[in-house]
């Protein structure tokens, strides 16, 4: 409760210059989200801030966050307002006109990507210079953090240079990517991956060869005897910096080399199958979607039919969410399965809410109905590994915009 109050006071302070709102109103909104709908505090706070931004007609960066001084290593959540003292290590080519500068900054604890927006109208940062950056906001994309400079950011050149915990120049060009994203050879990359297989090296020049995998898929790796690197263990997860990609007959692999840094990390990692993509209109949601019950027996997880598992008979099932949906692009159909997480994202209903809905209606089918109403007849692009005829959805996006350039279609239609 007191936490809610503190958040409310903070938010109220942010907006007190802009709109007339009392702390109680802010607190009530937060309370509903956090205590009634079980929204995590950070998320609830974000949502309430959005509400008031809307009400005040402001952009997120117009309100000053309560920033605190932080080290880069400690960045562990998006949308936090922080101050950092960091050195510009690299400047990259912006890929969009809305970005003025983009690159890598570092302090004694680590490095992080930064983005400076064109519209923020900030002074030019120079490579190799150390700055105090006041009021930057953290961001997260695919579990990697970055910081964004914005209109309220204060930039001041630091008197003293700082020593950066970072890569030597040789690795500075390597880029953190997912294995499935490897599409050229001789690219310097960083990956976090699990060793899924070790094979017998066929040559004495090779110390280890096998497969590594991350969430996006698996790739062959080779480690050379001359590189004198520590041995990798099967099943262990490593952060591998400065690998080089290779291609042979269309298959990509990675090579460890003398400059490669290997760091074992104590984290689980789900290794993905190679991902396929599909798009089309979500044309049907099939039976067995929505709120379902699974067999609780270890390693079973079969979906119950009328409270019965086809293997274990009558059991007390465990609730789960799932959508079996069909994507159709007018030429092909692709059957897909959205697991609980994906279903929550697609339908905007989490398991607890689904259970409550079913309880209120005394009927579990209301959940699938509610989700269908939101998603049927809309276009999606999904990606994930395939299992039999199903694509298991890991990523999804609703898509809009034309399927082809209308101008080109017009030219074509006129020419036939």
């Amino acid at each position: 409760m007191t936490d809610v109050h503190q958040h409310a006071v903070d938010i109220h302070e942010q907006f007190s210059d802009h709109i007339d709102v009392d702390v109680e109103d802010v607190e009530a909104r937060l309370d509903t989200l956090i205590n009634e709908y079980r929204v995590p505090a950070e998320e609830a706070r974000r949502s309430v801030v959005s509400h008031y931004l809307d009400e005040a007609g402001l952009e997120r960066e117009d309100i000053r966050g309560e920033s605190e001084s932080r080290k880069i290593e400690s960045v562990d959540a998006p949308e936090q307002w922080i101050d950092v003292t960091a050195k510009i290590l690299e400047l990259w080519e912006p890929r969009s006109e809305s970005v003025a500068q983009v690159g890598l900054i570092g302090d004694e604890t680590g490095t992080i990507k930064f983005t400076k927006w064109a519209k923020s109208d900030l002074p030019e940062l120079e490579e190799g210079t150390t700055y105090h950056l006041g009021n930057v906001v953290t961001d997260e994309y695919q579990e990697r953090f970055s910081v964004k400079l914005n209109r309220t950011t204060e930039i001041e050149e630091a008197e003293e240079d700082i020593a950066v915990e970072a890569p030597d120049s040789e690795r500075s060009e390597s880029e953190a990517i997912e294995l499935a994203a490897i599409d050229t050879d001789e690219q310097w990359i960083d990956v976090t991956a699990k060793v899924t297989d070790l094979w017998e090296p066929r040559s004495e020049s090779i110390s280890q060869v096998g497969l590594i995998g991350d969430e996006s898929g698996t790739t062959k790796f080779v480690s050379f005897a001359t590189s004198d690197l520590p041995e990798l263990e099967e099943g262990a997860v490593y952060q591998l910096r400065n690998l080089v990609t290779d291609e042979y007959q269309g298959d990509f692999s990675v090579k460890l080399n003398r400059t490669t840094e290997i760091e074992r990390i104590e984290e689980g990692l789900e290794v993905g199958d190679n991902t396929v993509e599909s798009e089309g209109i979500l044309i049907d949601i099939q039976n067995g979607s929505g709120l379902i019950k699974r067999c609780p027996q270890e390693d079973c997880t079969r979906v119950l039919q009328n409270g019965r598992c086809s293997e274990h008979g009558e059991v007390d099932g465990e609730f789960d969410l799932r959508i079996k949906g069909v994507l159709d692009d007018g030429k092909e159909v692709q059957e897909t399965i959205f697991d609980r997480e994906a279903t929550e994202e697609l339908g905007g209903i989490d398991l607890e809410e689904a259970k409550e809905m079913a309880m209120d209606a005394l009927d579990t089918t209301v959940v699938a109905d509610e989700i269908s109403e939101k998603v049927l007849g809309r276009y999606y692009r999904v990606a994930g590994p395939t299992l039999g005829r199903y694509l298991l959805v890991n990523e999804m996006a609703e898509i809009s915009g034309p399927t082809a350039d209308p101008e080109e279609l017009l030219i074509k239609a006129r020419s036939i």
């Binding site: 209109i281 044309i283 069909v326 049927l376 039999g388 005829r389 990523e395 399927t403 279609l409 239609a413």
Partner: protein, 202 residues
Amino acid sequence: MSSAPTREIARRVFAREFNDAGYTFKESEDERAPVYSLLPTGERANRILAVGTLTETEDVGEDSEYWRGRVVDPTGTFFVYAGQYQPDAANVLREVETPNYVAVVGKPRTYETDEGDTNVAVRPESITVVDSETRDRWVTETAQRTIERIEAAEEEGSEYARMASEQYDRPAENYREAVLSALEDLDSETDGEDADAGIEAA
């Protein structure tokens, strides 16, 4: 792919072409074999997707509710009928406010009018309210698929293209014009919009 019975693809077809697709056929003697409507551009259709503006709904049933909806695309109007055997779709037609953009997935059905003409309508499997972007996307997609069908009919002359030239005396030119008018209509509204958001932006 697999040997499991394959799901029928939802054909993208503009109202003008759909309403001309009055010839139906089966591909086997089996009573439960799917019934196909023959699209004049030379393709069989057992399921279609139509996205357009639901402009009017009316209960035209006598004894029980039987809802008719008019779904308008840039080339014409789809007639959608839902009764007690399509309860979800009937619900939507009963409840939804018009005008509204809807996506209709359904089966082509033909019936004879009192004057002895053959009319084509949609028996919906689902009707959902969608936004204008979905509708615009459908227009380009349907234009694209229709152009592909016209081209394929001219170049390869598939079985269904031959069937269409026997059954219908309407030249493909009609449907090319439908495509042109749909695209010109769209072109005047959307200029230089972003193509698509993509997964990265999710």
